[in-house]
């Protein structure tokens, strides 16, 4: 394992660029949808073997331990090369959670499997009709011998049809005084009997989400993360990681790559009115990077994330949407053609950023909810 942080930024960028461009399978470059596990397993494991699968994890757990600046370079090069989005819940959510809240046995069991690509995780949070009101959950888990027995259903579970494991928030004390109390955080193997799936097509026609049904699903007590009935604390900690992840500049960067390619292909870089708007967005993204580095630095120093991390998510997803809308506008009549459109030899799926950027203001707590959180906990405005 190298100390990537010791390299100069330029050298690190050059290595990453060269590697991604050479090694990432051409047929999946700039894919309009998220990659299916079958499509990306090889790539995942190749990255894993190179030691590059977990850029944000500490080195002792198999990560790269990158500094904020290096991490941003890494992301920029991933997007520059058009590397597709893999099922990444294990890397962005479960891993950091187990590192912070799990016990030694859980870390030993699960972290290496995530690094190796042997376990693919999905998130069992939202429930039908609950929307952003996460604490209203009804799925329940009852201790029966050494197992929890789970009943209920989760929805909007991204890529559950490719997952080997799911982490679930379930109600373990129905008598709790407040809705946030009496919830526990459980790990579940997707092969457990009693789990069934229904896939849900998204607006772009892709099977991205699932509803996951739990019918007397048993998971051993050892899969309880943290204390019984204290799951909300973990979920909140996890939300910090989620917001940092959704708040990273990766997705806007992806759209910016497309926008610049499109603008170049359509000769828009000679149009001052377009360049003005592009520049505003470029600065929005550059400044987003600066703010992101601040939060990544905080995590890297071992500090926990406060409610202020919500601002990253709000800005990231708003910027992403604004970028995707300018892509469509810049594409003009091409902006309504589905699939790859050929612009003098450059193939661009102009609709993909538009569709892909829509859910970001909804999931992980809608941007409205994030603003409520910021108003209450950061600005301390009265309710």
């Amino acid at each position: 394992m190298s100390d990537w942080n010791a390299l100069s930024d330029e050298a690190f960028r050059a290595q990453a660029r060269e590697y991604f461009e050479r090694e990432f399978p051409a047929e999946y470059k700039f894919l309009a949808r998220r990659m299916r596990w079958a499509e990306c397993r090889d790539w995942y494991q190749k990255l894993s073997r190179k030691g590059w699968i977990a850029p944000n994890w500490p080195i002792e757990h198999g990560g790269m331990g990158l500094s904020p600046t290096k991490l941003l370079i890494f992301y920029e090069e991933i997007e520059h090369a058009g590397v597709g989005r893999m099922p990444d819940q294990g890397l962005t959510m479960v891993g950091p959670t187990l590192i912070h809240f799990g016990n030694a046995a859980q870390r030993a069991e699960y972290l290496p499997k995530i690094i190796a690509g042997e376990a693919v995780w999905c998130q069992g949070y939202s429930e039908p009709n609950a929307g952003s009101d996460l604490a209203s959950l009804h799925t329940e888990a009852v201790l029966d011998g050494d197992d929890f027995v789970i009943n209920g259903s989760k929805i909007w579970t991204s890529m559950a049809h490719d997952a080997t494991h799911i982490y679930v928030l379930a109600r373990t004390d129905k008598q709790a005084r407040k809705r946030q109390e009496g919830i526990s955080f459980l790990l579940v193997d997707m092969k457990t009997p009693g789990i069934t799936l229904r896939t849900i097509r998204n607006i772009a026609g892709h099977e991205e989400f699932c509803q996951v049904f739990f019918d007397n699903v048993r998971t051993p007590q050892s899969n309880l993360v943290g204390e019984l009935n204290q799951g909300w604390t973990i979920a909140k900690g996890l939300l910090g990681f989620e917001r940092l992840n959704i708040g990273s500049p990766r997705r806007p960067l992806q759209a910016m790559e497309k926008l610049e390619a499109l603008a170049t292909a359509r000769g828009l870089m000679a149009d001052p009115a377009f360049v003005e708007r592009l520049t505003q967005l470029k600065l929005d993204l550059a400044d987003h990077n600066s703010l992101y580095r601040r939060f990544v630095d905080q995590v890297r120093r071992g500090e926990s994330l406060g409610p202020d991390v919500s601002m990253l998510k709000v800005w990231s997803m708003d910027t992403y949407q604004r970028l995707s809308e300018l892509v469509l506008e810049a594409a003009g009549e091409y902006g309504v053609m589905t699939g790859d459109v050929d612009f003098d030899g450059t193939a661009i799926d102009v609709l993909a950023p538009f569709y892909n950027s829509r859910p970001g203001t909804i999931y992980g707590g809608s941007n409205e909810i994030q603003r409520n959180i910021l108003a209450k906990y950061v600005l301390q405005l009265p309710s």
């Binding site: 929307g131 607006i203 026609g205 003009g332 589905t338």
Partner: protein
């Protein structure tokens, strides 16, 4: 153009309302990606039977000889109903080109068939992306034994999937021509490109396509005049379709906001969502007001070509922007459900997008408006 006849307008509004209520188009639209049935002959015949295809066409061709105001009522309804058939391309754009020519035999025959639902002529004039005024004509017309040979490629031909033939622009030496090219003409190849809303745009390739001399419908400066007027009409009526789309979407959002409960309250009680809905209401009402005024002006006021184009651009730009804003916001209002294929909102989002891009997006129309305003400014100074 006739004076507006309120009884016509009322009758039309009633039949349109009945059609929309029936709601038969939505399931068809949802299935488009599978069925490719954006042009359903049975459905088209229903539009013909309702008399809607002949609103602009003269009575001599079986039409109603009415104006933009009446055709806008239908278009707004079809926007609401999300009807995929090419109403504006055929019954407005093509009809408006053919109507002034209806003194001659062939145009009259085509119009007659158009009104009856038997012919679906579609304009194939544009050759380059975003040249929605179809100024650029590289297509060549060459006199040959037996008629005129056409060579060139026309793009962004919306409605091509159901077209019985094409109104094609071409040049013979310096002279512009407008020709009728039946779909079955040898050398006329149509490639369909799928659009966001499940419909298609055609690329019409004319490869030594030979039509008889009699198929030349117009020539010289007249071609430009016909095109300009018909394109302005079609832009305004597309704006009316967009108005239907956006009003219906806003209604769906408001309905959802009143019934969807989160944190123990209807989400429509949250002030932030209320104000957002209000800002969209203002966009809706601006769009409706502009469209009504532009139709009024174009129907009753003598207008220069430039003023007419500016008016059309104003209507198209506002209605397109309002529709995009309202449909995109509708996804957010609906939350996760709004992002699923099962939710109707997505269908409206996509239709808004294709209509907004059709015949020039709002940016292109603002640019045309600015260009013409600057010319007007210089002339006035």
């Amino acid at each position: 153009m006739n004076q507006p006849d309120n009884s016509h307008a009322e009758l039309l509004a009633q039949s349109v309302s009945a059609y929309v209520q029936h709601g038969a188009d939505l399931p068809r639209v949802r299935a488009l990606a599978q069925t490719q049935l954006e042009f359903d002959p049975k459905q088209w015949q229903e539009l013909a039977d309702l008399g809607w295809l002949g609103i602009l066409a003269p009575e001599s061709c079986g039409g109603l000889g009415l104006g933009l105001a009446e055709v806008a009522i239908v278009a707004e309804g079809l926007g609401r109903a999300l009807t995929p058939e090419p109403y504006t391309p055929v019954a407005v754009l093509a009809a408006a080109i053919l109507t002034p020519l209806a003194g001659a035999t062939l145009p009259m025959a085509i119009l007659n068939d158009l009104v009856a639902g038997l012919a679906t002529p579609v304009l194939a004039a544009q050759e380059q992306a975003d040249d929605f005024s179809a100024q650029l004509v590289a297509t060549v017309a060459t006199p040959q034994t037996g008629g005129i040979q056409l060579d060139g490629v026309k793009s962004f031909v919306v409605g091509a999937a159901g077209a019985s033939g094409f109104l094609v622009t071409a040049h013979h030496e310096q002279e512009p021509l407008l020709c009728w090219v039946p779909g079955e003409t040898q050398g006329c190849h149509v490639r369909l490109i799928p659009l966001a809303d499940g419909r298609t745009a055609g690329e019409v390739r004319l490869d030594h396509a030979l039509v008889s001399e009699a198929h030349i419908l117009a020539r010289g400066a007249r071609v430009r005049e016909l095109l300009d007027r018909a394109l302005d009409y079609a832009q305004v009526i597309t704006a009316a379709e967009l108005l239907g789309v956006l009003k219906k979407t806003q209604e769906m959002s408001l309905e959802y906001m009143k019934t969807r409960i989160q944190f123990g309250k209807a989400i429509g009680s949250f002030q932030v969502l209320q104000h957002r809905a209000v800002d969209l209401l203002i966009q809706q009402e601006l769009a409706a007001a502009v469209l009504a005024e532009v139709i009024q002006e174009m129907s009753h006021t003598p207008m220069s070509v430039e003023s007419r184009a500016m008016a059309a651009s104003r209507a198209k730009a506002r209605c397109a922007d309002a529709a995009l804003m309202i449909t995109r916001a509708a996804i957010q209002f609906h939350g996760a459900i709004g992002f699923t294929e099962d939710c109707d909102v997505g269908l409206y989002v996509k239709r808004a997008m294709t209509l907004a891009a059709y015949l020039g997006n709002s940016r292109a129309h603002r640019q045309r408006y600015a260009r013409l305003a600057a010319v007007g400014h210089q002339e006035a100074a």
